[in-house]
């Protein structure tokens, strides 16, 4: 279980002391149950990326706290893994080497980490691409490597920062569907940052809508669409349209 309590973060301009600080987040509080899929939705500059980076432990909040299973977190930990917007692959490593990276840092032996990495590559449908380099495969495939790398650490919480923002629309839909299938097979909690209304509704159990200046939570919308959502055309469901209208209205005002 993840709890975010009264989180605030201010950015000061390093080089120009006369410029006022920017309030990226102000008193943000919410909690996420285990195995829940939550989307953080909002326009650019609403602090959603800042929020997920604080949860990942990459930057520190100025006020408030975050607890995972009751324990406060301030640094990256093995209970949380991040999938990056620009994939964050290391270009000098092969696909296999990239998936092994997290396990290698842990100090796991070569044979064992290779076995696990191959398993997760199979899970994301990339068996046979082990020896390719990131620049030799498409963006969608690169992000699958990023997902395999994060999942290989068996995190309690998978943090995804606009993971499908850098791929084309068709690949994006395909990846969304695959993500749901993979999530179905694992016991992971997912926190997913996006600025796409459809993506947030299609994927999540709950959409947390954020607003900018200062970055804060506006509203939470429960997504009561049935699962699994990859069967049939969920987006044609009248309920989907209602939710879309509700979320859009909330974002507008």
């Amino acid at each position: 279980m993840l709890e975010v309590r009264q989180l605030s973060k201010v950015f000061f301009e390093q080089n120009d002391p006369r410029r006022p600080g920017l309030v990226a987040l102000h008193n943000v509080s919410f909690s996420v149950r285990n195995k829940e899929f939550v989307c953080l939705l909002g326009p650019s500059g609403c602090g959603k990326t800042t929020l997920i980076r604080i949860i990942a432990g990459l930057i520190r909040a100025d006020r408030g706290e975050i607890r995972v299973n009751g324990k406060p977190v301030t640094a990256p930990g093995r209970d949380r893994c991040m999938v990056f917007q620009q994939f964050g692959l290391l270009p000098w490593r092969t696909v296999l080497g990239n998936v092994e990276f997290g396990l290698e840092i842990e100090g796991m032996g070569r044979a064992e980490r290779e076995k696990i990495a191959r398993e997760y590559l199979a899970l994301v449908g990339l068996s046979g691409f082990e020896s390719y380099y990131p620049h030799q495969i498409s963006g969608g495939m690169q992000q699958r490597v990023g997902i395999a790398r994060a999942l290989s650490k068996k995190p309690d919480i998978l943090l995804m920062d606009e993971p499908f923002g850098a791929v084309d629309a068709q690949t994006r839909e395909q990846l969304q569907e695959e993500l749901l299938k993979i999530w179905n097979k694992t016991d992971t909690t997912v926190i997913f940052v996006t600025h796409s209304i459809d993506e947030s509704i299609y994927l999540s159990d709950r959409v947390i809508i954020m607003q900018s200046r200062p970055g804060r939570i506006k509203e939470e919308v429960k997504i009561d669409l049935p699962r699994p959502r990859w069967e049939g055309d969920v987006k044609a469901d009248p309920r989907f349209a209602e939710l879309r209208a509700q979320v859009r209205e909330s974002l507008r005002t």
């Binding site: 990056f84 290391l90 840092i105």
Partner: protein
Amino acid sequence: MPAADERIIAELGLRRERARSVCDYPNAIRAFSVICFLIVWEIYGRRVDPLLLTYPTAVVQAAWSLIKSGELPRQMLESLTTLAVAFGASVVLGVGFGLVMGRSRVVSAALEPHINALYATPQVALTPLLMMWFGLGFTVKAVVIFLFAFFPILINTASGVRNVSSSTIEVGRAYMASRRQILLKVVFPAAVPFIMAGIRLAIGRAIVGMVVAELFTAITGLGAMLTLYGNLFETAKMFVIVIVLGILGVVLVRATQTLERRMARWKETERAIE
């Protein structure tokens, strides 16, 4: 599906165009050009005072006698040993200090004035001073070569490290890498293309350093042979040394280029794709 591609190409009756004109054989043009040059040199060289200029066949004869007497191989080995030791040291220390400087703003700010001052001074100017400190033997030659080669490696490594994007380092942090792991598993490999470029620049400078040191000390090595035969007015033998040095430079630079291309392959293809 290459099979299908081939079939369609056959159906359309298309074929790869073959090389037709002389322009498509640059190596032939190169060889022809060199042969012409040698012929002209041979004809002209035989008419000029042998003190001032020699000609290709005389150079070949001189080379053969220098090899047969064992003098050229011995001096070359002498030069190359010094070069290898000093260059090895400059690679190790240049990359080491470069990594630290690139990662630490404090170290970088503290070392920068000294490095800039030393790098800006023509190292040739330091050689007489170094001879007073280190004598005329192996040490002074190694120090001069080191000073010539160290700075490009140091500076390139440091800027390569600074060039590693913060998002790349963040990947390491997100996966809980320690400072040491980030340096060795993220920063260093990311900086390898810069480091290799520094090494390529340095190898050329190291050869210059070697010849300079040997010309000054004039006891052993290829540079010393140059001074010796210059003083004896044996022009053909001087040419032999000059040509050997030229070949040495080309071979070493080519070798580092090949190594650079192999180690930084991911960078090159990445650039080509962008």
